[in-house]
Symmetry: C2
DNA sequence: CCCTAATTAGTTGTGCACGACTTAATAGCA
DNA sequence: TGCTATTAAGTCGTGCACAACTAATTAGGG
């Protein structure tokens, strides 16, 4: 079996591994975000939380976890830091005291304006055509959904 | 501007973001690896280090960092754990005492055999055709290289 | 109605990931 | 040769990410 055939097969060569390409690209993109988000006082996972909140304010920790595919053990401390930064508030739901509603503060809502340029800057840095962007998203979602169950 | 056009533009919707698809897919794949690697006593980044060492034994921390795109501040503690697990040794290079050579132990070399089934199992779980796999790798590498400089 | 099971957040411990810094050693030039 | 800049590895502090667990609350069957 030659080198090319191994690529989609059981090779142990790092550069044949799709998983490594994925892992490296993910960290590279996050690194690219870092300076932009630093100006907003956010880390990358915090930025993702804010994206969800700008879309749907007053969401439970559980639903936030579903949207971002993160555990409460990751979100709880992260949300605490965002609360300490004055971007959101956490309050127990009166109708179900197990649940905690996350709500934007005015400062949190206002931050959206300053964040509007971020996706464009990153999209620009990634340098994909619209077709490549769509194809990449489609493949990544396919991987996610295949890997989740199966 | 309608919803479809925004997708490749400056949308702040989470599900429009390629970066989120990337981040989610990367974590999903790593999660899929976890139980397989646990049997080998490895974490995912440790597995990547072992892949490099199986390919090229006796490599410096620096070159390992270049291969994996990781800082010495990440690798140093990770390598210490692998050394504590008996899979490798670290020794200063006699000709350049700044540099540390990472060498597999016999146990580390032997582990390769048990790891051979891992890429196949993951490849299977990702469920891509050979064409999709190749396309995904190509796009991810393009993203990585564009984002790195530019 | 009660009591057990399920649900929701949160805590704790381990291991990355990275920036800022430190220490030690080498390179290279005046 | 001596001195300064560079390089290599490592430490430290912060913030994820996740498994395992806990505490509090609610749901639902007998």
């Amino acid at each position: 079996m030659d080198r090319a055939a191994e690529a989609t097969d059981g090779s142990l060569l790092l550069d044949d591994q799709l998983c490594f390409a994925l892992y490296a690209a993910s960290r590279a993109v996050t690194a690219r975000y870092r300076p932009l988000l630093e100006e907003l006082g956010l880390t990358y996972p915090q930025y993702l939380v804010m994206l969800v909140l700008w879309e749907q304010d007053s969401i439970s920790v559980r639903d936030l976890g579903t949207a971002l595919q993160l555990e409460s053990s990751t979100l709880s401390p992260l949300l605490k830091r965002l609360e300490a930064g004055g971007l959101l508030r956490r309050e127990r739901r009166p109708d179900d005291e197990r649940s905690v509603a996350i709500r934007l503060t005015d400062a949190g809502a206002r931050l959206q304006e300053r964040a509007r340029t971020v996706p464009l800057a990153i999209g620009d840095a990634m340098g994909l055509t619209a077709e490549q962007d769509a194809m990449a998203k489609q493949l990544l979602r396919l991987i996610s959904s295949n890997v989740a169950d199966g």
